[in-house]
């Protein structure tokens, strides 16, 4: 089996490096050093700044060849599609930002070139798209529609849904979830997406399955603090999530772990952001970027019939401070391998279609002075896989 990777940039700790090296070098899986049963044979790299590792990888692995265009990578320099799966890793690299501070990664453009080869070859193969489908909802929807129309397996998203959890808990299938929240960190149009996927991979398992989202409202600056004080999102869920963090900034000097008060949070957090949104079936969710307070992604939900709040952390072994390997890419690569081998995604791309739309809607609400943004276009319906796909073995 032959795989092609279409990527923006390969340098130490760029997303492409994490993916490519796992295919080339193998990775720890199920207690062995696992070598994917497929060969990464073709690579297209959009940018090769100083620190580029793509040429080093191609030199060390003679089976891997770098091609100057996406079409050549997919055809191995010939005239028709010559690989059995495609990785699209459009994260990192020097790309512009628009006025809404969206990072204009060329995922859609790369995807278009990939499907062009599929079209001219009269054949298509499974595609994995790293992170959100696109910063632009219309383009994301078009990518999704194209995959459906052409009938190829399509997976996408973050590693948060598939990484370890501490504790190792899964949302019970069919749970009646009324509120859910993620206390995470990072920036807008980047880590907000990870936090949204954290929430979505859990709440999609609720009774009735996913029905889509009707509105999104963002909070930042004074409005964030006012909302926090007034309990716009449930304080108990936020506290439960913070109790799952391994990186809670101590609120007082000389203490290593102490729970923050409202005033502590106000002092510690820098430019926090919230997206509050309501699903079509009434479920309400809150995505919090609590910069300065935590450096991990923690989930909490209220489930009818359960006296305790359900909570866990989606644990990321995150280099360089805590680890040397970003091993949360391992379960992601393993799920991709399964799709390449079987032609079937292990979880629905509709999850990432919805979180792509939620990310864009959050950005839009921020851009429109934090007004509520109606999202009739996000009536994305799907059922979660019965089988858990997070890292447990």
């Amino acid at each position: 089996m032959k795989i092609a990777a279409v990527v923006t940039v390969v340098h130490k700790y760029s997303h492409a490096q994490h993916f490519i090296d796992r295919f080339l070098e193998g990775y720890g899986w199920n207690g062995v050093h696992h070598k994917p049963p497929m060969d990464l044979v073709a690579l297209y790299v959009d940018q090769t700044p100083p620190g580029d590792l793509s040429r080093d990888r191609a030199a060390r692995f003679p089976t891997l060849k770098i091609y100057p265009t996406i079409a050549e990578a997919l055809t191995l320099g010939g005239s028709s599609l010559a690989v059995d799966g495609v990785l699209l890793i459009g994260e990192h690299g020097d790309y512009k930002y628009n006025e809404k501070h969206q990072h204009l990664y060329p995922r859609y453009e790369m995807f278009q070139q990939i499907v062009k080869v599929f079209q001219t070859s009269g054949r298509s193969v499974p595609v994995f798209n790293d992170k959100h489908l696109s910063w632009n909802w219309e383009w994301a929807k078009e990518m999704y529609d194209t995959s459906r129309k052409m009938g190829f397996a399509f997976m996408a998203g973050s590693s948060l849904p598939v990484t370890w959890r501490t504790p190792s808990l899964e949302m019970p299938l069919g749970a009646r979830v009324s509120e859910a929240l993620c206390a995470g960190y990072g920036g807008v149009d980047s880590y907000d997406f990870h936090a949204l996927e954290t929430i979505q991979c859990m709440v999609e398992r609720r009774r009735g399955g996913e029905t889509g989202v009707k509105w999104v409202e963002a909070y930042r600056g004074d409005r964030f603090w006012e909302a926090l004080r007034n309990g716009v999102w449930p304080k108990d869920l936020m506290e439960a999530a913070l109790c799952r963090s391994h990186t809670l900034t101590p609120a007082r000097k000389g203490f290593n772990h102490i729970f923050p008060t409202f005033d502590d949070m106000r002092r510690i957090m820098r430019d926090p952001v919230a997206y509050r949104y309501e699903h079509n079936d009434g479920l309400k969710c809150t995505m919090l970027l609590m910069n300065g307070l935590v450096q991990d992604f923690n989930f909490a939900a209220r489930i009818a019939g359960q006296p305790r709040i359900f909570s866990t952390q989606m644990y990321l072994p995150m280099p360089p401070a805590r680890t040397t390997l970003a091993n949360f890419f391992s379960p992601l690569v393993n799920n991709i391998e399964k799709m390449f081998l079987t032609g079937k995604p292990t979880y629905p791309v509709e999850r990432t279609l919805l979180t792509t739309g939620l990310t864009a809607a959050g950005v839009e609400s921020l851009f429109q002075n934090q007004t509520r943004y109606e999202t009739p276009h996000l009536a994305v319906k799907y059922q979660a896989p019965k089988e858990s796909t997070y890292w447990r073995t």
Binding site: G28, G31, V32, H33, P167, H246, G254, H257, T324, W391
Partner: protein, 412 residues
């Protein structure tokens, strides 16, 4: 009315006010300063800690503190002022809160960190036994004993450790001891089935001796004690170092397959991963032999025939990983003992929760014999090191015990 409710309400009239109030805790520490063990543990009893997705504030009150040393950055007086307890000049006074009788319901001994001499085996002579003995003296004088938690190994000396456990049996008070590693999260959440047949086991640890090898040995022991027949003790140990470790691997004295398996759980391979982020099979590529300048192997031969190895591999990785071959399992069973980052070190909250459980119920959630055995294994390994790395018979380590039936992992 359910039985538990009935018992509670029936018992209530007989409880004295002292028993219904918070349980009183004394902390006996070597030093109390930022990021010392005493601060990690002690503060959780003062400001609470997270467990099960909620900030816990158990019904306990720290009423007294003894600190053996007050180095720069000492926080003992500051904590006492803020949280309304007193620092006493002796352990006996701390336990009696300045009076003549035992005046606490539980004791926390945290004798890790501080300046203490090191013996010829490289053991830091932390006064854990000495602290414990002074507590026992108060218990004996008073005719009443309360639960004691002792951080890390019981003592650098097995004889002293054995005395400590013996005293707890004699005076009938529960003792919990040891490392956080047995009770922290595992990646994956692996618990070997009770009664399984373990064919071979290997642990990879890092850090200095004797603080970090203790953690690694106890992590391995909490896995192995679940084997068929339970724990029956150790008949011999040997510690070898340097190239002899690799040679022993070539000769099959420890399993390379299990080393690959343990390292497959690591998130922190060094060398080429540090250079450019790549994943590595350190054993397959041979990189490990370049990275580890002074490997050490701790060979442990159990009375029931099981052989287990701890490899201390500084330079290869930065985390603690275990692998075992278990009869009937499809492949090696391997996991990482997750040590979460400073300053929170949330794994210590997992341990504090077990301590609180013992303080509240007067029952240790897992047997102190685990720590007794590991204290003895470590001492004998370090003796082997200074005695030309010889294999040493250890008839004194015939420590029998059964593992807790219930998993102690943080799973809720």
């Amino acid at each position: 009315m359910r039985r538990r409710t009935f018992l509670a309400s029936a018992a209530a009239p007989f409880l004295s006010p002292a028993q219904t109030g918070p349980k009183r805790v004394a902390i006996i520490a070597t030093v109390y300063r930022y990021l010392s063990h005493a601060q990690h543990f002690g503060d959780r009893f003062l400001v609470g800690y997270p467990w099960g997705g909620a900030w816990q504030r158990p019904n306990l009150k720290v009423v007294s503190l003894y600190v053996d040393q007050k180095p720069e950055g000492d926080q003992s007086e500051e904590r006492a002022r803020e949280f309304g307890f007193q620092v006493y000049p002796t352990i006996a006074e701390a336990l009696c809160c300045g009076g003549s009788k035992l005046a606490v319901d539980a004791v926390l001994i945290i004798a890790e960190h501080g300046k203490y001499p090191v013996n010829e085996k490289g053991q830091i002579l932390y006064p854990r036994y000495e602290f414990f003995k002074q507590c026992v003296d108060v218990f004996e004088k008073d005719g009443r004993a309360v639960p004691v938690y002792n951080d890390k190994h019981l003592s650098y000396s097995f004889a002293k450790a054995k005395w400590m456990v013996g005293a707890s049996k004699r005076l009938n008070f529960p003792v919990l001891a040891g490392s956080s590693l047995p009770v922290t999260w595992r990646l994956p959440d692996l618990e070997l089935p009770l009664g399984c047949e373990i064919e071979d086991a290997l642990m990879v640890g890092v850090g200095g001796s004797d603080p970090m090898d203790f953690h690694a040995l106890e992590a391995m022991q909490c896995m192995l004690e679940r084997r068929k027949g339970g724990e029956t003790g150790v008949k011999a140990v040997q510690l070898i170092e340097g190239d002899a470790v690799w040679k022993a691997g070539e000769e099959g004295r420890w399993s390379k397959e299990l080393l690959v398996s343990a390292l497959s759980r690591s998130d922190s391979p060094l060398g080429l991963t540090l250079a450019d982020g790549r994943t590595q099979d350190l054993v397959g590529s041979g990189e490990i032999y370049k990275l580890v300048k002074n490997p050490a192997a701790y060979f442990i031969e159990y009375n029931d025939g099981l052989k287990a190895t701890l490899l201390m591999l500084n330079g290869a990785v930065r985390d603690f990983n275990f692998a075992a071959r278990v009869k009937g399992a499809p492949g090696p069973q391997a996991t990482q003992f997750l040590l979460t980052p400073e300053p929170n070190v949330t794994y210590s909250a997992c341990l504090v929760h077990k301590i609180v459980e013992m303080f509240e119920t007067r029952r240790a959630p897992y047997p102190v014999e685990r720590t007794l055995l590991v204290s003895g294994i470590l001492e004998s390994c370090l003796t082997s090191r200074v005695q030309n790395h010889q294999r040493l018979e250890t008839p004194h380590l015939k420590v029998d015990y059964s593992p807790p039936r219930q998993s102690q992992l943080p799973r809720t």
